[in-house]
């Protein structure tokens, strides 16, 4: 999936926002895997929950993550 280039209000993302969103998308891809050991699977979910806060606070995404168990 292409990482968006604007925030929810249509403003261009700055460099740090682009990086955050890219990491967020990477985490989503990782937690969707079913071959991770528990130490990775659960900690990545924690990390994804944290990054959801930052990207949501900054208006970069607004979505639910229950399908990822987060």
């Amino acid at each position: 999936m292409m990482t968006p280039t604007t925030d929810l209000l249509g403003k261009p993302l700055n460099e740090q926002e682009q990086e955050m969103l890219a990491v967020y998308e990477t985490l989503k891809r990782l937690v969707a895997r079913d071959d991770l050991p528990p130490c990775a699977a659960r900690n990545l979910r924690q990390a994804l929950a944290s990054l959801w806060q930052a990207t949501n606070d900054l208006g970069l995404q607004f979505e639910q993550l229950y399908e990822y168990g987060v």
Binding site: L9, Q64, Y66, G69
Partner: protein, 447 residues
């Protein structure tokens, strides 16, 4: 680099037209989510002829049906444990909390997923950072850490901010005071009533918290008193510290308003995560700035149990963001939560509905008549008495009844202590028409 004043500078100073555009976008997505996943909301939307795609402008918010506590309770009772309000499988939850209900023993039960639970502390971060909590602070939580949501989110928010957290937990007031002084904490989180109790107990121990502790901030929550000027002044003098009010509710899991370090006399609404409407409680029409009305909240946080246009029955008065000098563009509630439009009472941070108390009392056939009497002890501590009469012939049941009823009432109210008092037979008033079995003898707050 010095710390910025705002937790989220991008949104806390967002021009209001952009803020509303953000709220509109989130509202539409929230409605889509609720309609697709939550039988409770799907049913209500269908009954009202509402579809998420009807949300085109901000005024379309008013097309969405209200959600009430009574409907939520009915759903819980019809389909225990959670009714049909869940948007996802309960196995996705990592947290369970509850708040006392409006009828009998059934509480409002809530679940949170991992990101919901983290969001709950995130909202506290907005408030605590805005009040002035920083990584250098050490924060003492005078809180029991039970299934009542209370300060749980604030605890994790302080960890997230990087402050040192001291969980007060199950200790005596004396032990807590000793820790506050010995550890040199800079901040205490407490209900207003308990903050006053801590101060009073410290005086009895020969400790002046204003001069012998390092506390310079007191975070208040759980009772309206945190925004009552007289109480606030008393607390600030007692502790020699700034006091900041916050307010939240179990139904959303966290706070939705906070007092910032500019202390304008109001509490900012976290408007990038909530839509807060203020409506006439009877007509449900919007009221303007400076008018008293009922809080109606839509939360963009907990997706597990979507909360859309939830009628809180809280009494508030919205004022524009410009009332405060901090630079936030978020409106405020002048005087925080000022009271209730229904008969719910807040006793030491716990919601008490007379109907719920009566339902439990009526389980005891030995009780003839009763009265609920709420009063303030030593000008600081709220107490709730159940004055009751035993039916003739049942007098022998009294000692055990007293213990059992106090236990049953406490269990239905997050451990709140009820004083069960026996009255002589025939002394309590009887009612032929609408009964008035509750008296609130606490002083009326002045704003």
């Amino acid at each position: 680099m010095p710390y910025p004043d705002f937790w989220n500078p991008k949104h806390e100073a967002l021009p209001r037209e952009e803020l509303q555009a953000l709220q509109l976008l989130k509202l539409r997505r929230l409605c889509e989510w609720a309609y697709a996943t939550t039988p409770f909301h799907r049913r209500k939307f269908d009954e009202a002829g509402f579809r998420p795609e009807h949300i085109q402008t901000f005024d379309d918010l008013r097309r969405i049906p209200f959600m009430t506590r009574e409907e939520w309770m009915a759903s819980l009772q019809e389909k225990p444990l959670f009714g049909d309000t869940l948007a996802t499988d309960p196995t996705n939850a990592i947290r369970y909390h509850l708040t006392s209900g409006t009828s009998g023993r059934t509480p409002i039960r809530v679940l949170d997923g991992t990101k919901d639970w983290d969001w709950i502390s995130e909202m506290w971060c907005y408030g605590l950072w805005g009040f002035g909590i920083r990584p250098e602070d050490s924060v003492y939580f005078a809180f029991g850490y039970g299934s009542f949501i209370g300060f749980w989110g604030a605890h994790y928010a302080c960890e997230k901010i990087g402050a040192l957290v001291v969980p007060g937990g199950a200790q005596t007031t004396e032990s807590r005071i000793k820790q506050i002084v010995e550890l040199g904490v800079t901040t205490v989180a407490s209900t207003p009533t308990y903050a006053l109790h801590l101060w009073q107990k410290a005086r009895e121990m020969g400790i002046d918290l204003a001069t012998q502790s390092k506390v310079n901030k007191v975070i208040l929550s759980g009772e309206p008193a945190g925004s009552i000027p007289a109480v606030k002044r008393q607390l600030e003098e007692a502790w020699g510290a700034q006091c900041g009010d916050t307010a939240g509710m179990t139904e959303i899991g966290t706070i939705m308003i906070f007092e910032c370090s500019h202390h304008s006399g109001g509490t900012h609404i976290i408007e990038d995560h909530f839509i807060e409407e203020v409506l006439d409680p009877n007509s449900a029409e919007p009221v303007g700035y400076g008018e008293l009305g009922e809080r109606v909240v839509t939360s963009f946080g907990r997706g597990f149990i979507p909360l859309i246009r939830y009628r809180t029955r809280d009494m508030v008065m919205k004022v524009p963001a410009s009332t405060c000098t901090c630079g936030r563009t978020w409106d405020l509630y002048s005087g925080g939560i000022r009271g209730r439009w229904d008969d719910m009472k807040l006793i030491r941070g716990t919601n008490v509905y007379p109907s719920a108390v009566e339902a439990i009392i009526r389980e005891y056939p030995a009780i003839d008549e009763f009265q609920i009497y709420i009063w303030r002890k030593d000008e600081i501590q709220d107490e709730i008495d159940i004055k009751l009469e035993i039916k003739p012939g049942f007098e022998h049941t009294w000692p055990e009844l007293q213990t059992r009823l106090a236990k049953d009432l406490a269990e239905a109210h997050e451990g709140l202590r009820f004083n069960v008092v026996r009255m002589d037979y025939g002394t309590l008033p009887r009612f032929e028409l609408k009964a008035r079995r509750m008296t609130d003898a606490r002083p009326v707050a002045r704003y």
